[in-house]
Symmetry: C2
Subunit: 225 residues, 2 copies
DNA sequence: ACCTGAACACCGTTCAAGT
DNA sequence: ACCTGAACACCGTTCAAGT
């Protein structure tokens, strides 16, 4: 039966947990964790701050739910049929890119160890560790080490992401740090001074992957023979 | 010349950056990051909130200074004359214990990558990496990987430290997580379920050290031959 | 059942005024 | 130079009142 078209008025589609979380992600991506406010969020949803509390228990849950949406979307759908090492690398890189796109999840992941998003990553890592042939008692340590490394990088990236939207910003930032390191007291910071120039031309993503490979090499070495 | 004794009245010793930071550390240790407030801090120092701002630019600097005091005290004075691996293990464990005693530095370290406290740790790690015989181009990666792993564990410990003052609390917490893991959906979380029982009897500190050893093994394997 | 929005109890920070 | 403390511009959260 032909009903009048344009029935979907763009007004007042009902509030829902899903819409709230989606709007929160948008705000977080646009202005960062500090910019997500119940008032801003309410305005974006064309309602009052109180309405949000009917769907969500508070800010902590909201941040958790937002993180879960992004991480779940990232963790699912990896490359099939590759070696365990390849799957781990692929997962790690997808997480790295997700944190690059949504820096706020870096800080969030780090402080929700038992929570669902972190657990999803742990589970994926653990399965591949098992597939790698790591003996049962050593699997927990291997998976935890990979996870902690990933969370460590995530937290640092989240902290560094402050004012770096463009590639230009990023280059300037690295140049600045590199210059600062090169000027450190040679007696107190000989090593840091020595690697300062490497920092200028370094690729975060490649560096992150090299760290993953280092841990994987350690896992392989520890249960060889 | 004999002046009246009891000249040092216990009243009004002048405010100073040092006293402020010290008081902040005390509050942070007692009630955590959420409990550190300029009003609480001012009361503890028997002054008004505004007075603190003459010595310290804001809360961020205050947290940074507090972290620096604790980390510097921890980083200095390691065991001399041991192998590079031993020195790294020793440094890592001292940091672990410091974070255990002051959980707030876990979160703080993670979000101050270029800052002095993190840099001090990076420098120490790097020197030992060099002493390990790692070739120059690989040193940055090796030191960064160790640092990221340490920061990752630090962040998780900071997040977990919420309500666990006593050993009892800790055990209950692990039992709870272990039970929760054992009840996960077998299809979605086979690995996590499988390691659930290991978690109950696990030693955070030993586990942390095992992760360090895994990375060290990877470093050794990667530049062998 | 769900939404509204004023109100509450806090924050970090500023600043005129004091000594 | 250093301190005081009221005041400002915000928060997250609650809740009586509406529909």
């Amino acid at each position: 039966m032909a009903t009048k078209a344009r029935r979907t008025e763009r007004r007042e589609e009902p509030l829902s947990r899903e819409r709230i979380v989606e709007a929160a992600i948008g705000i977080l991506d646009a202005v960062g964790e500090g910019g997500l406010t119940f008032r801003v969020l309410a305005e974006r949803l064309a309602t009052g701050p109180g309405a949000i509390y009917w769907h969500v228990s508070g800010k902590e849950e909201l941040l958790g739910a937002a993180t879960e949406v992004v991480v779940t979307g990232t963790v699912l759908g990896g490359a099939g049929g590759a070696s365990p090492q390849e799957v781990i690398r692929d997962l790690a890189l997808r997480l790295f890119d997700a944190i690059d796109a949504h820096p706020w999840i870096g800080g969030q992941l780090a402080r929700s160890p038992g929570q669902s998003p972190t657990l999803q990553v742990f589970e994926r890592l653990g399965r591949q560790v098992q597939a790698l042939g790591v003996p049962r008692p050593a699997r927990f340590t291997a998976a935890s080490t990979l996870l902690s490394y990933i969370l460590g990088v995530a937290g640092q990236n989240a902290a560094n992401a402050h004012g770096q939207e463009s590639e230009q910003d990023r280059t300037e930032f690295l140049d600045g740090v590199s210059a600062a390191w090169a000027n450190l007291d040679p007696d107190a910071y000989p090593f840091t001074r020595d690697v300062a120039e490497q920092l200028r031309e370094h690729d975060d993503r490649a560096e992150f992957l090299a760290g993953i490979d280092l841990v994987l090499a350690g896992i392989a070495a520890s249960h060889a023979g």
